[in-house]
């Protein structure tokens, strides 16, 4: 039996209310405490109890780019999990389950799958004070034993997760105790039995962080003092993080009564001179449309976060998709400049959100952070963000002294750069701002020459902003057999797929758009024109990025690898389909 060391994918599932998320976090943290790295993959339907929730953890020695499709070890807390997930188990993989509750008939599963019975219900019954939900800890304890890992890390992880959630010492220690019983049961009954083993490495300081937390942290670091938002999956954890850290971070989170209120409150704070943000998902963003146009007209900075989920309408509220690209590019009536940033991983969620605030202030316009459910709610272990070289740039925001000495102040002064001097109320001079077309003073003015001058000025800001917009990033060899094109959170899966292709002798590279708009059109056109074979990879139905590239550059991408099932791409899927495209199968 060939044993894999420190290469694992582990999975726990059951009904909502079974403590699936907590079990997953305990397992993930135990890995990190032993010096290993993880990436999680969470799936859940839009309900509070029942249904099928799952938490996958991929474990590696190095930083993990993305989750994968198949799992070595599956914890089934109900029969439904066995029925649904039997095909995601790798050859020789295993299922941990309670045979007293779940009956698996002979021949029901592939013969290579190992079964690990753990009497979870009995352990709970025999442990004074334990309750049924603690089966999650029993099962994680059993998993640690199957994987031949150190139980101490799990005990430390359980205590860590529980102390964060402040559920009290008794409950915490009970969880450790039942986990140990699960661990002991496996050690006694199934010693040295599994195809994967975990070996501790020197412990490094690692965060376990989600994309939504990274966005919130980037905003806090950028001096965003005010977040107004309305709850919406999968964006809500941004507002939750803000409010949980209000006093520590000295920020204010105001829960709004709807998304229209949220963005208008944020706009008001921005007008008054405070860095502000709002966060939502597609449907909430749709409600914000009119005010986004207002931001454009009154030239106010605001960072707007769209954590995408698949639409249309309510769509798949808890699932994954990249369907909002064209919507965000065109959101708002009339024409006005904007910047669209789509982070590709959790690091980029942090650094690009920080940068979004600088760009918003410098160019006095709305900046969109377009992330998605996969980025937003997946945990990843990583080194702490390096904040050493992060500099705040508020652009042409007048100091009190500058404002006081400014005679004949024009808030909307026509300039070559398109950027006008920005005062805030409370300073001298007094100024006004109107959603009507206005003259340089902010007074309503409908004269044709003035309209041209103001609208041209607003759009000149985009030309000026190009100096601060990075080129799309190229990963892999400069010259390649096939060039993959994508944006946002597919980055991890695509980078891994490129490695698989390399093993097959196909040289692939990847053009990744984080800054989608404004676009470096000439550069993009030239890069793509020089590529041997270009394939667009996106998680939507209509290949929106390919459409946008064609609109701005004229370059047409005919080959597309698309997924719009509401689940994220796995690297193996991209690999398979790129190979098919490359060999001309489709």
């Amino acid at each position: 039996m060939a044993i894999d060391i420190n290469k694992l994918s582990w999975f726990v599932a059951g009904e909502a209310g079974y403590g699936i998320m907590t079990a997953g976090q305990k397992f993930a943290r135990a890995m990190v405490l032993g010096g290993l790295n993880i990436h999680t993959h969470v799936e859940y339907p839009s309900l509070i109890r029942g249904g099928h929730n799952s938490f996958g953890v991929r474990v590696e020695e190095e930083e993990v780019k993305c989750p994968i499709q198949l799992y070595n070890l599956v914890v089934a807390l109900n029969k439904d999990t066995v029925d649904r997930q039997k095909d995601i188990i790798t050859a020789g993989g295993g299922i941990i389950y309670d045979a007293d509750e779940i009956t698996i008939a002979d021949g029901e599963l592939r013969s290579d799958i190992r079964l690990y019975h753990v009497p979870m219900n009995q352990i709970i019954k025999e442990t004074e004070g334990a309750i049924k939900v603690m089966r999650n800890s029993v099962s994680v304890g059993a998993s640690i034993a199957v994987l031949d890992y150190d139980f101490d890390y799990l005990a430390e992880a359980i205590r860590g997760v529980h102390s964060k959630e402040q559920r009290g010492n008794d409950i915490m220690e009970l969880n450790v105790a039942v986990a140990k019983k699960g661990y002991d049961y496996i050690k006694k009954n199934y010693p040295n039995d599994f195809i994967v083993k975990l070996k501790k490495l020197p412990r490094k300081k690692r965060m376990l962080v989600t994309g939504n937390q990274a966005v919130a942290l980037g905003a806090i670091k950028a001096g965003c003092k005010f977040l107004a938002a309305y709850p919406m999956t999968p964006a809500s954890s941004i507002m939750n993080y803000f409010v949980a850290n209000e006093e520590k971070a000295k920020v204010v989170m105001k829960q709004a009564d709807d998304e229209i209120t949220a963005i208008n409150m944020a706009l008001g704070a921005s007008f008054a001179g405070v860095r502000a943000m709002t966060s939502t998902s597609g449907g909430g963003l749709a409600l914000m449309t009119e005010t986004i146009s207002l931001l454009g007209m009154s030239e106010l900075p605001l960072v707007i976060v769209d954590v995408q989920r698949p639409g249309p309408a309510t769509g798949l509220p808890t699932r994954q998709g990249q369907g909002d690209l064209k919507f965000v590019l065109n959101i708002g009536h009339g024409e006005f400049p904007r910047i669209l940033i789509a982070p590709g991983d959790i690091n980029e969620c942090f650094y690009e959100t920080f940068n979004a605030f600088n760009l918003a202030d410098k160019y006095q316009l709305p900046v969109f952070i377009v992330s998605d459910k996969h980025l937003g709610v997946s945990f990843k272990s990583m080194a702490e963000f390096d904040t050493k070289n992060m500099k705040i740039d508020r652009g042409w925001l007048l100091t009190d002294e500058e404002a006081k000495n400014w005679h004949d102040y024009k808030r909307f002064m026509v300039t070559d750069s398109g950027i006008s001097p920005r005062a805030v109320p409370g300073q001298t001079p007094i100024f006004r701002s109107s959603s009507d077309e206005h003259n340089e003073y902010g007074e309503i003015c409908e004269k044709p020459d003035n309209r041209d001058a103001q609208e041209d000025k607003r759009f000149r800001k985009l030309d000026t902003a190009m100096q601060d917009i990075p080129l799309p990033k190229v990963y892999g060899p400069e010259k390649a057999d096939v060039t993959l094109v994508g944006w946002g959170s597919t980055k991890g899966a695509i980078l891994e797929a490129i490695e698989y292709l390399k093993d097959d002798g196909i040289k692939a590279n990847f053009l990744h758009f984080v800054y989608v708009y404004p676009m470096h059109t000439h550069w993009v056109k030239e890069f793509l024109s020089n590529a041997n074979m270009v394939v667009d990879v996106e998680e939507n139905k209509t290949a929106q990025l390919a459409g946008v590239i064609r609109e701005f550059t004229g370059f047409r991408i005919d080959r597309k690898v698309l997924k719009h099932s509401g689940r994220t791409f796995y690297p193996s899927e991209i690999y398979d389909r790129i190979k098919g495209v490359y060999h001309g199968y489709y």
């Binding site: 962080v209 409150m265 008001g268 009154s298």
Partner: protein, 290 residues
């Protein structure tokens, strides 16, 4: 010290119809600012869209003229960002009770220290005479050919029902009462709401200056005290079932409540806009994730 002339926008003059009630409301607001000796740079007037919402254009204090119905959340955000500003939100009956009704109801319960002035002319003016949320039952308009079927909003009753911290009504045809009420509302520490009866000379031929003058009376002069929610509720309906034969003006209800911005630990001392954002350390937050 600020004078009425200091608040003038000079050659940039209002484009309201001659005789419009908005002129006197603008005048009343200016007088209230002078009366309270507010510095113009510390005053921010926020509005939505409509005739009344053009007001920030023609008073020399800071102004933000946004989109229809959204003055309240913009004003709330600005106040939370800089609580040293005197934030006055203005809008019409269509703006606040139609497009912005959700913001109105929720603003009543937030108790952020801002002042809301609703120019209630019971008609859509700028769009040329459509029925509004406060148009009287039976009144004809370009969109109510057979007469308005819908019951009008009773904004005073709504605000009293929510035990709003300051609820008042005044009349654009009584400059003195209006000036005093606006000044009182701005000086009040809490969310203060004034419904201002404002004749529309172009489109509302029913609720005219004369019509109002024959009906309004001053609650406070009759010895009414605004400290009882049940009495306030009753007063809010005075005239409601009798063709508005009597319309009370003055403060209906007043209640001191804690302010959101005083209660919030991050807002209580320094205004957000004055808090430095250079070199913010997130070290503790990052360590917590480890």
């Amino acid at each position: 010290m600020v004078t009425i002339n200091d608040l003038s926008t000079g050659d940039y003059v209002p484009d309201w119809c001659p005789g419009c009630g908005n002129y006197s409301i603008l005048n009343g607001l200016k007088r209230a600012i002078v009366k309270l000796k507010l510095k113009p740079r510390d005053v921010l007037v926020v509005s939505g869209i409509g005739c009344s919402s053009k007001l920030p254009q023609w008073i020399d204090v800071n102004g933000y003229h946004g989109v229809h119905g959204r003055g309240l959340p913009v004003g709330t955000g600005a106040k939370l960002a800089n609580k040293n500003l005197h934030v006055i939100v203005v809008g019409g009956d269509g703006d606040v009770y139609g497009e912005g009704m959700n913001h109105f109801i929720h603003a009543l319960r937030k108790n952020v220290n801002i002042t809301l002035l609703v120019h209630d002319n019971q008609i859509y003016g700028l769009t040329k005479g459509q029925t509004s949320p406060t148009s009287m039952k039976g009144d004809k308009s370009t969109t109510s050919r057979r007469g308005n079927f819908d019951d009008p909003i009773n904004p005073i009753a709504l605000a009293v029902a929510q035990r709003t911290s300051y609820v008042a009504r005044t009349f654009a045809g009584d400059l003195e009462h209006m000036t005093d009420t606006i000044a009182d509302a701005i000086a009040f520490k809490g969310f203060a709401f004034i419904n201002i009866l404002q004749p529309c000379v172009s489109f509302n031929k029913h609720n005219t200056f004369v019509w109002f003058k024959e009906r309004v009376y001053d609650l406070q002069k009759k010895g009414y005290k605004p400290n009882n929610v049940e009495k306030a509720f009753k007063k809010a309906y005075e005239g409601w079932d009798s063709g508005w034969d009597k319309i009370p003006l003055g403060v209906f209800y007043k209640e001191k409540k804690p302010l959101f911005e005083d209660d919030h630990p991050v807002l209580a001392k320094t205004p957000l806009v004055k808090q430095s954002i250079d070199n913010i350390s997130i070290k503790k937050l990052l360590d917590e994730l480890c």
